[in-house]
């Protein structure tokens, strides 16, 4: 009896030992490969910055060119002598259009690479995913895309438009120039829904009329019924917050249904030059968009920027608003570092307040209070060659107001 129990115990012990042994061998095998990489570059010679965008997956179409713009800015700064006497060294990570991957890679950049700052993200979903990582690890993120507002993290600088620098002025302009009856069409996720919430309040306050509000799933491809609804309800304007490839289907099918920009005004806020290329200029000619910058924007800085971008990445490439916003993000950070004399995040944030920069879109300025930037607003019309022609602009820069505090009608929105 005791003998058999002992034998059983022995067997189990041996099994357990075998498992722990293999496990430890495997684990040490994995971990030993890591420090070798880290030691490769001593931290003193370069300033490491992170670049975190989707280089694969559904968002790659937009984010690859944004990454290109950031790399170009880094190269230019390095060519001009670097920063604080050191070269900037980009560490590129792929968020793979997956929000959890974004959070993991952000953690890796901050904890393992110990980068001075990160330039990255496109979708609001990815920004929301990395936000807690940056706040916990006291990191700094430069976010280059227009978005729905209602956010202002101390660990993020927003170089794209806040709603009052894109959506609100566009709606106001449309109401004054194109008519009161508005049809809201968007993809079904956070940005279009929040944007439309703002627009609905604005319509109420400014005497506009909401004809309909329609959402389709991301990736939706059949717009025949929605186009029929648009036809039947005869709006003056379709305000389009569709995102991604749905725009291709929508504008293609709109044209097939015999509706051109002459018959119906549409205004898009997520379609820039890069997207027009995908939709086909012929399908979008004459339709309106609202942004802060176009490739055709007439400033000396922009001529230089477009020339350099095309020289580096190919004559068939176009620049657009997020590309420009990503490019100036790098310069604004570099200016702040120069002013602070260090890459310490708290000091850089303090130094960044009020910094001005001659950007391709015009002279921009960082607003210290909410870490967004002052930008001009421009409404444009798509031309036959796929570029966008400015038809109206605010002239001077507009103060960023992510929570729309300066608008009486927006009182109920920010909570």
């Amino acid at each position: 009896m005791t003998n058999s129990v002992w034998q059983m115990l022995k067997k189990r012990l041996a099994a357990a030992l075998a498992v722990t042994l293999t496990a430890s061998v495997v684990l040490t095998g994995c971990s030993s490969s890591q420090p070798a990489n880290q030691a490769a570059s001593p931290a003193s010679e370069t300033i490491k910055v992170g670049i975190l965008h989707s280089l694969s997956g559904t968002m790659a179409i937009s984010e690859v060119s944004v990454k290109d713009a950031e790399l170009m800015a880094i190269e230019e700064i390095n060519a001009a002598g670097g920063l604080l006497g050191k070269k900037i060294e980009p560490v590129i990570e792929d968020g793979a259009s997956n929000w959890t991957t974004f959070a993991e890679k952000a953690k890796k950049l901050l904890q393992q690479d110990k980068v001075a700052t990160v330039f990255g993200c496109w979708t609001s979903a990815s920004r929301k995913a990395v936000l807690p990582v940056f706040e916990e690890n006291k990191g700094l993120l430069w976010y280059p895309v227009q978005y729905e507002g209602m956010e202002s993290s101390p660990n993020i600088f927003y170089t794209g438009a806040a709603p009052n620098q894109q959506i609100v002025p566009a709606v106001e302009w449309l109401l004054q120039n194109k008519g009161k009856k508005m049809f809201l069409l968007g993809s079904d996720y956070v940005f279009p829904r929040t944007a439309n919430k703002i627009i609905k309040e604005q319509l109420k306050a400014m005497g506009g009329e909401l004809i309909a509000e329609e959402y389709t799933p991301l990736g939706h491809t059949d717009y025949s019924t929605i186009i029929n609804k648009i036809k039947a309800s005869k709006p003056d304007v379709v305000f389009n917050t569709l995102n991604g490839d749905s725009n291709v289907a929508f504008f293609k099918q709109l044209k097939d249904a015999g509706i051109t920009a002459k018959d119906l005004t549409t205004c898009s806020v997520s379609v820039a030059e890069e997207e027009v290329r995908g939709i086909g200029a012929a399908n979008m000619e004459g339709h309106l968009v609202s942004w802060n910058y176009y490739q055709t924007t007439d400033t000396p800085e922009n001529k230089e920027f477009v020339k350099n971008y095309k020289a580096k990445y190919g004559a068939d490439r176009v620049t657009d608003d997020p590309i420009e916003a990503a490019y100036i993000a790098v310069y604004l950070w570099a200016e702040a570092v120069k002013k602070a004399g260090t890459t310490d995040i708290e000091q850089v944030k303090e130094a960044a307040k009020g910094i001005e920069f001659k950007a391709p879109e015009g002279l921009v300025k960082i607003e210290g209070e909410n870490q967004h930037i002052w930008k001009p607003v421009r409404i444009g019309e798509v031309t036959a060659d796929g570029l966008i022609k400015e038809i109206w602009s605010t002239g001077q820069t507009v103060r960023p107001d992510p929570y729309l505090k300066t608008y009486d009608w927006a009182k109920g929105l920010s909570n």
Binding site: Y215, S224, T225, I226, V248, K252, D256, A257
Partner: protein
């Protein structure tokens, strides 16, 4: 009035796309009982085949002939998707006959592999296929009543495919062999039919028709590696609603789901419309589990 006529037309148009996407599935799932989760990827293969044909015509063929690339793309899409189906059947599916759970997992894995393959070859961003000039514009009845040529063309294409499949299955020698094998495999084999070969080309034909569906989809939107996944649920729904194993059922199922979808979408909105359609289909299947059309067959299993 014009709005309702146009809406009816939209319903028929969406139905035609569902029918085309489901026709291949009616063969592989309906006749062969293979639950092929990679069916959507054959649609994708057809779409990319069209894209490749466009580029070939753009770069290597005289400009005046560019308008005809789409005509050439239809058989090419069929052949490429069919060939992929033939390979897949030989490599994987044939080991899984009669094991529906295993085949779901295996074909789902294959669908992921094919999507990744497409991403590696054509890049992650979606690509756009330029429609030929003769499909631009619309048949104008009156100012408010215009039927886009592309959608009319797809309807004609679907009718042609349906006729083609009927002739193939009911008139040709191969079709008769297919039906014989599906009804009674042992008897067909003892009469000298090579049932292995019949399986392989039946699956290839089903996949090829999915390829044609992909070709048609390029007219409506852009093409990406996940284009098929948007259709896979709907197409299974069409086949199940119509009644597994009947072609007439698939056509009826496609018409019902397509028109119901657009009608509900018109009166409510896009997301709710889809929910309503699926709810009604589920309720209907509770009442008639075999679908709209049932076959009275002696090959009861």
């Amino acid at each position: 009035m014009e709005t309702y006529i146009l809406q009816l037309f939209n319903g028929i148009s969406v139905s035609s796309i569902y029918i085309l996407a489901a026709l291949g599935l009616a063969i592989t799932f309906g006749l062969m009982k293979v639950i092929n989760m990679a069916h959507g990827e054959f649609i994708m293969i057809g779409a990319y085949a069209t894209y490749v044909m466009q580029n070939i015509f753009l770069h290597y063929v005289d400009k005046s002939l560019f308008g005809y690339y789409f005509v050439a793309a239809i058989p090419v899409a069929f052949l490429v998707a069919g060939a992929m189906g033939f390979l897949l059947e030989g490599a994987v599916i044939k080991h899984l006959y009669g094991r529906p759970l295993d085949s779901i997992l295996a074909t789902w894995g294959i669908s992921l592999v094919l999507q990744q393959l497409a991403r590696s070859i054509f890049g992650a961003p979606n690509v756009d296929v330029q429609s030929p000039g003769w499909l631009e514009g619309a048949l104008v009845i009156s100012q408010g009543l215009q039927f886009p040529y592309k959608r009319l063309f797809i309807i004609v294409l679907v009718i042609a495919c349906i006729i083609g499949v009927f002739v193939f299955l009911y008139k040709s020698k191969y079709g008769i062999q297919i039906r014989a094998v599906m009804q009674n495999r042992a008897m067909a084999a003892s009469l000298g039919i090579n049932t292995r070969l019949v399986d392989a080309y039946t699956f290839a034909v089903g996949s090829g028709i999915a390829g044609i569906a992909g070709c048609a989809l390029t007219l409506l939107g852009s093409i990406g590696s996940t284009v098929g996944t948007y259709y896979i649920v709907d197409t299974f729904m069409v086949v199940v609603l119509g009644g597994v194993g009947t072609l007439l059922g698939t056509i009826a199922g496609g018409l019902v789901i397509g028109t119901a979808n657009t009608t509900f979408e018109f009166f409510t909105n896009t997301s709710l419309g889809k929910v309503l359609v699926f709810t009604l289909v589920i309720l209907f299947l509770q009442w008639r589990p075999k679908g709209l059309f049932t076959i009275n067959s002696r090959s009861l299993d």
